[in-house]
């Protein structure tokens, strides 16, 4: 009796509890068919971030199987198209059992399995993997290849990646194919087979449209190791394109610095340090003087491996705003729904980003400070080298002013000032002007 009385006393607050807040779904957003139409329109109009938001919302709002299946199919389609951030978490609440569409079923169970594995639920992972065609399903083979790669079993990983590339591949799988080719290139890079690694970038990855910016950087690394410094600088030049990029990598400064150091190019090194100062000088001063990091916009664009969630939300916010600015060329009832979706999604994301912002900015600031210190040490080398008699009395480089420069074997090179953005067919052929100034 006493125990029962204690239990009742404990449960009383719960029984009397009232919700702290309540979300109201407007009437026009309660029809799953309307959401399905909106999803279709967003895909047609090439608004992928809106489509992802709509699919996630449908999974939250509705419990009927056709709506869930449509939402998951959309998510899988977006992943296959190359959505740049991991979105497997939407599969956590998935409770459908797709049977008819084998490709969809394979993908669905694959993502369920990888999510379960990530969360340490090994038996659930095994259960979901049992529904996947492990011999031929490319995503599973890639997953196994990545697993082998992480364990440094490069030969097993290479074998699996080559098996994927030899399958009959469709354009809809281009996102996966790029990852496979890139991973293979990175394996060859790790094995110091730089020619083979470079070939994958030059003959395939850099010939796609659009090119992933990091591929230019990885190409530059390969060319650096092969001592093709002029072509390495040319690859890095592509990162200066006026087309805005989501994030900035500090590695390009590092590769340039290493090249200039190899060639004892003191003037070029000074110019590089000047560029770094111009790009980040104010940010560094602000960090060192203890200013609030939230005002430093350049920190939000710095790529850091631990800031994936922050960048995901930030990219989604910017992309949704961009899509929203384009207007909704839909019928009036769909336009209402689209406006509601974008408004609420942006509000939620702007709220969420606050949880990640401080930590992400602190990490980025840390990274920037450490990097600037590394460059500062290089600056001491430069200063010492500058007053080396062999450099001081070095013959000055002839300034190239002519349009055409003749090369051996009846070839020639044309030089002109780059105005505006870069021409697609020229981008693989840029060359940096470098001269080896090391004595001996």
């Amino acid at each position: 009796m006493k125990t029962l009385f204690s239990i009742l006393v404990l449960l009383a607050p719960i029984a009397n509890a009232t919700p702290m807040w309540r979300g109201t779904i407007p009437g026009f957003a309660q029809d799953p068919n309307r959401w399905a139409l909106l999803l279709q329109k967003l895909e047609e109009k090439q608004m992928p971030h809106g489509a992802l938001a709509a699919a996630s919302r449908m999974l939250t709002l509705f419990t009927d199987l056709p709506t869930k299946e449509l939402a998951y199919q959309t998510v899988i389609k977006l992943i296959d198209l190359g959505y740049p951030f991991p979105i497997r978490s939407v599969f956590a609440a998935g409770d459908i059992e797709p049977q008819s569409d084998k490709e969809f079923a394979d993908s669905y169970y694959f993502y369920k399995a990888t999510l379960a594995k990530e969360k340490g639920m090994e038996r659930w992972a095994e259960h979901y993997f049992s529904f996947v065609d492990k011999e031929n399903f490319p995503k599973y083979l890639f997953y196994s290849a990545l697993d082998a790669y992480s364990k440094k079993d490069f030969s097993a990983s290479e074998k699996l990646l080559k098996k994927i590339l030899s399958l009959q591949l469709e354009r809809s799988q281009l996102g996966l194919i790029k990852k496979v080719a890139r991973t293979l290139a990175r394996i060859y890079y790790e094995l110091e087979q730089h020619e083979k690694s470079l070939d994958i970038y030059e003959s395939f990855l850099l010939k796609l449209n659009p090119v992933t910016p990091s591929d230019w950087l990885e190409t530059a690394w390969n060319r650096y190791h092969l001592r093709r410094f002029d072509r390495a600088l040319g690859a890095l030049y592509n990162l200066e394109s006026v087309v805005p990029s989501d994030s900035v990598s500090l590695e390009k400064y590092l590769v340039r610095a290493l090249i200039h150091q190899e060639l004892c190019a003191t003037n070029d090194m000074e110019a590089l340090l000047g560029t770094f100062e111009k790009d980040f000088g104010k940010t560094l001063s602000a960090i060192k003087s203890g200013e609030s990091l939230s005002h430093l916009e350049s920190l939000t664009t710095l790529a850091h491996p631990a800031n994936v969630d922050f960048h995901h939300i930030r990219t989604s916010v910017l992309a949704l705003q961009e899509e929203q600015r384009g207007g909704f060329e839909f019928s009036p009832e769909l336009r209402n729904l689209a406006e509601y979706l974008y408004r609420t999604e942006l509000a939620a994301l702007n709220n969420r980003i606050g949880f990640y912002r401080e930590t992400a900015l602190a990490r980025a600031a840390d990274q920037l400070i450490h990097f600037s210190e590394s460059l500062r040490f290089l600056k001491f080398d430069v200063a010492r080298e500058k007053y080396n008699p062999e450099v001081v009395f070095q013959r000055k480089d002839r300034v190239l002013s002519s349009l055409v420069r003749e090369l051996p074997d009846e070839r020639f090179q044309i030089r002109w000032l780059q105005q505006g953005d870069f021409w697609r067919d020229e981008r693989p052929d840029y060359i940096g002007v470098v001269n080896n100034k090391c004595s001996g």
Binding site: I177, A181, S203
Partner: protein, 221 residues
């Protein structure tokens, strides 16, 4: 002999030892399917071309012509032959009626199917009859006798079929009918033609303009 043979064997062995390794194939050669994912520059909608007209009937004469320059613009809804320059010559029973034609025309067409398009034809035709001399007179004035030549607009219509040959090349078949309008009585300055050939002077029918029916095959690239 043995020493020579031994040296030769040693030389061959040395070559094999120090021979450069065979060049490894590129990834797109090893996996040719990857090539289809790389970006291919789209072909321009503008085409240049040339062709021949193996069958042309010009009134009651057979004509052979070649179009030496064509500029065309092909887009999903339109097949616009912007300019077509052709030379031709006729074969006639009567020598004086043989003629040469230089035609500049435009032939804009709308596509009624992906393959077939239809439209009007307009142009300018310069014609000369090398075997027929004529003078032009105006009152008391006259010009020396020269081979008769005239100019006039052409107008008509036709049908085209376009076949893709691959690698950005197209084969176009034109079937067209047009009317000639060059003058045989007076020129554009109102001077009268007087022909040296009395038969033609009394009956200009062999040299009069008329309808032209042509079939033309062109290669566009």
């Amino acid at each position: 002999m043995f020493r020579v043979r031994l040296n030769l064997i040693l030389l061959l062995l040395a070559n094999n030892l120090f021979a450069a390794p065979p060049p490894s194939s590129s990834i797109v050669e090893e996996y040719p399917d990857l090539k289809k994912f790389t970006f291919q520059e789209p072909h321009s909608d503008f085409y240049l071309g040339f062709g021949i007209s193996p069958i042309t009937i010009m009134r009651n004469k057979v004509c052979f012509s070649a179009n030496v320059f064509q500029l065309a613009w092909l887009i999903p809804r339109w097949d616009l032959e912007i300019i077509n320059v052709s030379f031709g010559f006729t074969v006639a029973k009567d020598n004086v009626a043989t003629s040469r034609h230089f035609t500049i025309r435009t032939f804009p067409k709308v596509k009624i199917t992906e393959f077939i398009s239809i439209g009007p034809l307009f142009g300018l035709e310069f014609v000369s009859f090398p075997q027929l001399n004529a003078r032009t007179t105006n009152g008391l004035f006259q010009t020396p006798a020269e081979p008769f030549s005239s100019v006039g607009f052409v107008y008509g219509g036709g049908v085209s079929q376009v076949i893709a040959l691959g690698e950005g090349r197209l084969l176009r078949l034109n079937e067209a009918v047009y009317k000639q309008t060059y003058a045989t009585d007076k020129n554009q300055h109102d001077w009268t033609y007087v022909y040296n050939d009395n038969n033609i002077q009394s009956d200009r029918d062999p040299i009069k303009p008329g309808f032209v029916f042509m079939i033309e095959i062109s290669l566009l690239f």
